[in-house]
Every structure is written in C-alpha cells, then in structure tokens.
C-alpha cells in the first residue's frame, strides 16, 4: 500500500460518477481535470473538482473493455481531456460532446496509444 495517497471517493459504476459530478456541479464545483492511470489491466480515472481552493476527487476503476460515460454533457470543458485519453490510453468515452475519435493529437501514422 502506498502511504501518502490523495483523498478520493471510490465510485462503483459509471452512472454513479455522472450523478456525483452532477451533484458537485450543483454544489458549485469547477471541473479541474481528470487523471488516468494504468491499473490491473484496466484504467483508473480520478476526477478532480475544485471549489474555493479545496479539491474533491472521485476515483473510478474502468474494467478492461469497459466504455466509461463522458461527463462532457455536464461540464463541456471535460471534452478535451477525455479526447486526450482516447488518444493516449485507447479508452472510449460514451457520449462525448465533440469526438475526435483518437485523433486529437495523433495522426493515423503516429504511434498508437503511447501511454497504454
């Protein structure tokens, strides 16, 4: 176990994430960013939300092959970071506001999913 980790609320399903993000928006949180990590064949997403300099983190484990739901319907600004992870980790987000289909940064002949 890592000794100093960031405080984060564990999420069970992608629908829970959407609900928690919507609640946070109603509470006046601002979407800061999302962090993606490799973990046990799948990926771990950490949603980082900010209000009055305090962070609220949501941790969600994406099983291999699962398609997480996009939060860009709630916070439009989430679309860039979600498209970035489609490029770099090969994830697929469902319901993206603008979908670059894995070509936000990369062209057809660049290395595929370099961070995965």
């Amino acid at each position: 176990m890592l000794k100093n980790t960031i405080d984060a609320i564990e999420m069970k399903s992608s629908a829970d994430v959407l609900k928690a993000v919507q609640d946070a928006k109603n509470d006046g949180y601002r979407y800061a960013t999302m962090i993606c990590l490799k973990k046990d064949d799948g990926h771990e997403l950490i949603y980082v939300l900010d209000k009055d300099y305090k962070l609220k983190n949501l941790r969600y484990f994406v099983k291999p092959g699962e398609k997480p739901k996009s939060v860009s319907g709630i916070y439009l600004c989430a679309l860039l970071i979600e498209n970035e992870y489609q490029d770099l980790f090969g994830l697929t987000f469902e319901g993206l506001a603008i979908d670059y289909k894995g070509h936000l940064y990369l062209t057809p002949n660049s290395p595929k999913t370099p961070l995965a």
Partner: protein
C-alpha cells in the same frame, strides 16, 4: 450560407501553431472547432527513461514562457511525496524568480496583444521593457529563458547581495514604465475600440467553462491559487488577487496590467523578508505515493499529479496546463464574433499551445 475558414496553423498573429476551423455566416462566426496536435511531443512518457531529478528539466521545457513555474510546481509536487520541509530561503527564492517570470510573461503578452490589433509601436515598447527583466533573470540564473531555479529539495542557485540590488533597481524602472503602459492600455482610444464589450463571458459561464487565471478573474470570479494554503508565504507578503468584473477582452487585459503591479509588490516584499540560511535540503531515497500540486502560473492554475512507486522513475506524471483549461471557453465565446476580431479573442486567453499539448 455557411463557409468554413481554417484559422492557423500558420498565421501572422499566432506565434504558435494551433488550428481553428471557423464556421462563418457571412462575416460572423457561428461555430469553432479547435484542432490540436501540432506541438504534441509526448513528455508524460519521458518518466520511463528519466529519473525524478532529471524530469525537473523536462518539465521546464514544456513551455519557454512560464518555464520557471513549471519547474517549481513539479519540484513541489515531488517534495510532497517525500514529505520534506524545505528551507524557507529556498521558498522565497522560488517566489522571487516565479514572480519575475510572471512580470516578463505579462509584458510579453501585452506586446503580442497590441500587435494583434496592429498597434506595433506599443508592441515594441512592451518588449523593450521586458528585456530589462530578462537581463536580471539571466544574471541570477544564467539563462534568459530556461531558468532551472528549482530542484527537488530546494533552490539550485542562491541570491547574492549584488543580485538583490539589481532586482530592486530594475523594479523601479519597470514600475515607472508599466505606469506609462497602463495609461495606454486603459485609456487609449484604439485599445478600447477593439476590446470593450468584445467576447463577454459572464461570471457563471466562465466558471462553468472551467477557465482559469486572468481569463477567470477577468469575469469577476475571485480565484487565485497564490492565496491557497500550499503557498502560505504569499499570505505573509500581502498578496491580493486582481479581479475585474466585466468579463470582456478589455477587462482581461486590465487584470494582466494590474497583476504586473501586484507581482512587483510581491518581489519587493519577498526581498525585504528574505531569510538567511540554507537553500536546499538533501533528499534521499525514491518517491512513493501520489500527490496533486497546484500553483498559479501567468496563464492560470496548473495541476501536477505525480505518482511514485519506490523506484527512481515516477510511475505517472500528469500535467493539466492553464491553456488546456481555457481553450473550451473559446468554443463558447467565439460564436457571434466578427471574423476580424477572432485573433483578438483568441489572444485574450493568452494561448500557450506548447503547454497545452506537451
């Protein structure tokens, strides 16, 4: 009838390659789609081959304008993993160099902005004043652009008496020059004609669009990470965030002009309180755990996420840069703008594309 006009990647007002596909109805933009990737290098992968000390120098080369603050934020994030107290003098040196960096960055932006609407003499004036700041930074750190002032555990170079005298002397001249610039940027007919009432973002829109830094503060939201607890020495220095409420291009410009005075005040106060002592603590071992570190860069909040697994190399490094957060706001502000005003609106978020794409 709608036409699609590509803006960039090579464009006279953009020093950097970014492409916007503008959908136009006659002369008015009705939709904008950014296309990124012209500066994507893939720095987050570098941690596989470089250890955590070497990564400092990679992070400084994310961007050549706010390089000092990238290095400082990265080292502070790694220090969180080690859970070490670093000497106070090192923190003060970081603040001084970081704020000098902000002064040069804002002067640079004001110049580019003036160039954006064709005010060339003002552009030259801003960049002439900026050279004095760069000269001092070069004296202190050894390079005009990449400063490398921060290392894991403290500061890499100390400030001598001679350096401090140079900084104070430079600040006096720059402050009076900024006063001259302020008169032009705040009162000049041309500047006002091109910026007042243009691309107005309401307080709520700016907040929900996730904008940061002067773009957010220009819309009346009180948010500056220099007030946050991680940087508690800013409180001792009497820092006050600059907020303008109108939310148009003019008010974003005003935020940056007034922040110049704030930075100058901070440097003066930091110098007067500069404690004596060591500038670095030795660091042993390898980083473990995860940490998020945020600081206020010239363009806004930067988020560093680091994760160590007990080896010399970090397991994950994620950087969310300010322009990355500000670009989505363009999707919301550009519709309804005349094509001729697009360069000005794009410039007011102070785009730094090499930060965005890393």
């Amino acid at each position: 009838m709608t036409t699609v006009i590509p803006f960039g990647p090579q464009h006279p007002v953009l020093p950097e390659p970014v492409s916007l596909k503008l959908e136009l109805d006659n002369d008015v933009v009705i939709g904008a789609l950014p296309s990124l990737g012209y500066v994507h290098r893939g720095l987050e992968k570098f941690i596989d081959t470089k250890d955590y000390n070497q990564t400092t120098y990679i992070c400084e080369r994310i961007c050549g304008i706010c390089s000092a603050l990238h290095g400082i934020t990265y080292t502070m994030a790694v220090e969180k993993l080690f859970d070490v107290e670093i000497p106070e003098r090192a923190m003060y040196i970081r603040v001084i160099v970081g704020e000098l960096n902000r002064v040069h960055s804002h002067l640079l932006w004001l110049g580019l902005f003036a160039d954006g609407f064709g005010f060339e003499s003002l552009f030259y004036e801003c960049w002439k004043y900026r050279e004095a700041v760069l000269d001092v930074l070069e004296k202190i750190t050894g390079n005009r652009v990449i400063h490398s002032i921060s290392k894991v555990g403290g500061a890499s170079k100390d400030l001598t008496k001679e350096h401090i005298d140079l900084i104070l002397k430079m600040l006096d001249t720059v402050e009076s020059q900024v006063k001259d610039l302020e008169k032009v940027f705040i009162n000049n007919y041309t500047v006002k004609q091109r910026t007042v009432g243009l691309a107005t973002m309401s307080k709520q829109l700016a907040y929900e669009a996730g904008t940061v830094g002067p773009t957010l503060r220009g819309s009346g939201v009180h948010s500056d990470l220099r007030e946050e607890a991680d940087w508690d020495i800013y409180k001792d220095l009497g820092f006050k965030a600059v907020v303008e409420k109108d939310g148009d291009c003019y008010s974003r410009t005003k935020v940056r002009v007034f922040e110049l005075y704030e930075s100058i005040k901070l440097i003066r106060n930091a110098i007067s309180k500069l404690p004596n002592g060591e500038i670095a603590t030795p660091i042993k071992g390898s980083p473990t755990g995860e940490a998020i570190m945020r600081t206020e860069q010239p363009r806004g909040e930067v988020v560093y996420y680091v994760k160590g697994n007990g080896t010399k190399n970090l397991e994950r490094l994620k950087i969310r840069t300010p322009t990355f957060a500000n670009i989505p706001s363009l999707l919301l502000t550009l519709p309804g703008i005349k094509l001729a005003d697009v360069p000005i609106v794009v410039l007011t978020i102070d785009p730094c594309i090499s930060c965005t794409e890393r």
